[in-house]
Symmetry: C2
Subunit: 136 residues, 2 copies
Amino acid sequence: MATMTAARRRQAGKIAYDAYLADCPSRKLLDRLSDKWVTLILAALADGPRRYNDLSRKIAGVSQKMLTQTLRTLERDGLVNRVVTPTVPVRVDYELTALGGELLPVLRSLKLWADTHIPAVEAARAAYDKRSSRGG
Amino acid sequence: MATMTAARRRQAGKIAYDAYLADCPSRKLLDRLSDKWVTLILAALADGPRRYNDLSRKIAGVSQKMLTQTLRTLERDGLVNRVVTPTVPVRVDYELTALGGELLPVLRSLKLWADTHIPAVEAARAAYDKRSSRGG
DNA sequence: CTGAATCCGTTTAGATACTG
DNA sequence: CAGTATCTAAACGGATTCAG
């Protein structure tokens, strides 16, 4: 039977490709940055250390779960330091590591590109939608 | 009543913040780039135009659905051109627009940062996991 | 060849309640 | 204050099927 060829080939390709992707540094970086809250937290910490609740307020729409979870992965990746002061109640500050700080220029260059070109993207989008709605 | 304060305040904040985010160009760019297939398609088109099936093979693990869907959004965003040649059967080529081409340097600089610093991230991750498994 | 439409399992993220 | 645990709704992505 020829029924499995297409899907199977794609499957085989997928496995090989996923392995390749898993080893791609750019991919990994994008995976971090793509997280909705990562860049926001990084930006919030750009000015200096902040406490947990402080972050939670500054970033507004974030839930406790997402904030904690994102901070954990950032800490694990060595981008953020978690500083515990064993007072009562306990006090926890988060701050950028040197590595985390080095990410800021990248974010800024990204922002620069976005600020420059996103208007063109918007325009393209509007034109596309107009064309579509006209039935073109 | 004080029962609604926490969740409600977060909700109110969320609405305001989502509106803010929706207007943030950097956010929009990251939203595009965060798509698993976007950067891969962009990279695949860096050398020149490619046909649909050609892309599908080159990118391996991608499904028809995702390939088509991603190409559509890229087209809508003005990053990719869709060129139809009305032969039988029909032939469709995809190519980077000028705008899409301008994204390549950004991706390269991102890649540069990643290649430089991801090893440090890996190391931090390994150290973190080691600490955790020790019960620290 | 190039897609659109549909079904469906997996993952994700938010709300809520509880702990030290 | 700074989280953890659990439940559930929604988004995502893959396979399959149909069409021009």
